[in-house]
């Protein structure tokens, strides 16, 4: 089975692609020319977007494991820029659930190139059932 894309929304597909590794727990992203800043490093906005996609996907899967049609909405995202990425780097993203309540998910994750951390991130997500506003 080949890696498959996640977050194929308008933004996710346009900014990505972000792939799910065959093993299932890592996300993969390769830095292309369009993802760079003027200093030829991975743009901070794209780095945060990648963290948002990785954490958001783990949040959605966690919510849907309990309620199949649940949606999640980001309430807060905190991103720390630990080191820079460059064109051609293969970025690996991972995220874990720190705590899940009935209505809120706490997610923590990181982006790495090899063993070097690019970004650490935490997010808080609201779980929306089908009948919620």
């Amino acid at each position: 089975m080949n890696p498959s894309p996640v977050d194929t929304s308008g933004f996710g597909a346009y900014a990505g692609p972000v792939l799910r590794a065959e093993s299932g727990d890592a996300f993969l992203f390769e830095i292309e020319a369009r993802h760079l800043n003027g200093a030829e490093r991975l743009h901070g906005g794209m780095m945060m977007a990648l963290a948002a996609i990785v954490l958001g996907q783990v949040a959605k899967e966690t919510a849907r494991a309990r309620t199949p049609d649940a949606e999640v909405k980001p309430l807060s995202l905190n991103c720390d820029f630990v080191s820079a990425g460059k064109k051609g780097d293969k970025v690996e993203g991972r995220a874990d659930v720190t705590r899940a309540t009935r209505t809120v998910l706490f997610i923590s994750g990181e982006l790495r190139v090899g063993t070097r951390i690019l970004m650490t991130a935490t997010g808080v997500y609201a779980i929306k059932g089908r009948d919620d506003k």
Partner: protein, 144 residues
């Protein structure tokens, strides 16, 4: 003076705005972005959300809001530092959804300037109603 990088789509600026001069390929790819100088000299920034910017529910993706925040809070940090800055940390809160077609405006505020670190916050609004807030820390390149 360079005219900046072109964006892949052509979008008419919101009333009173002019296109921002973009030097980062990723900002050009997500843009165009716009800005306007207010009567009091403060700067107001904007983009018009389209199909490239939304999630699977049609709401503007938080990743796009953070890209916008990085572009414009970073611009404010650079001006405050008088040189280039890099992002150290950014936190955003998402108050309510924005949708495709919305004009999303951003106002920035410099909270503190030290020799090596700039503190910048921003508010994002649609038609005067806040949709997100952000706080950020920037490192002044070359300063210690």
């Amino acid at each position: 003076m360079s005219a900046g990088l072109p964006s892949p789509v052509s979008v008419a600026p919101p009333a009173g705005f002019v296109p921002s001069e973009i030097h980062d390929p990723f900002e050009a790819y997500m843009g165009p972005l716009f800005e306007r100088t207010e009567a009091d000299g403060s700067r107001l920034f904007a983009f018009i959300a389209d199909a490239r910017h939304v999630d699977e529910t049609g709401a503007v993706h938080e990743g796009m809001l953070m890209t916008f925040a990085d572009a414009f809070l970073g611009g404010a940090a650079n001006r405050a530092a008088g040189g280039d800055c890099v992002t150290l940390s950014m936190q955003a809160s998402f108050l309510t959804e924005a949708r495709a077609g919305d004009v999303i405006e951003c106002r920035t505020q410099i909270d503190r300037v030290t020799r090596a670190i700039i503190f910048v916050s921003g508010r994002f609004s649609v038609s005067g109603a806040d949709v997100a807030t952000a706080t950020s820390l920037w490192k002044v390149l070359g300063a210690r």
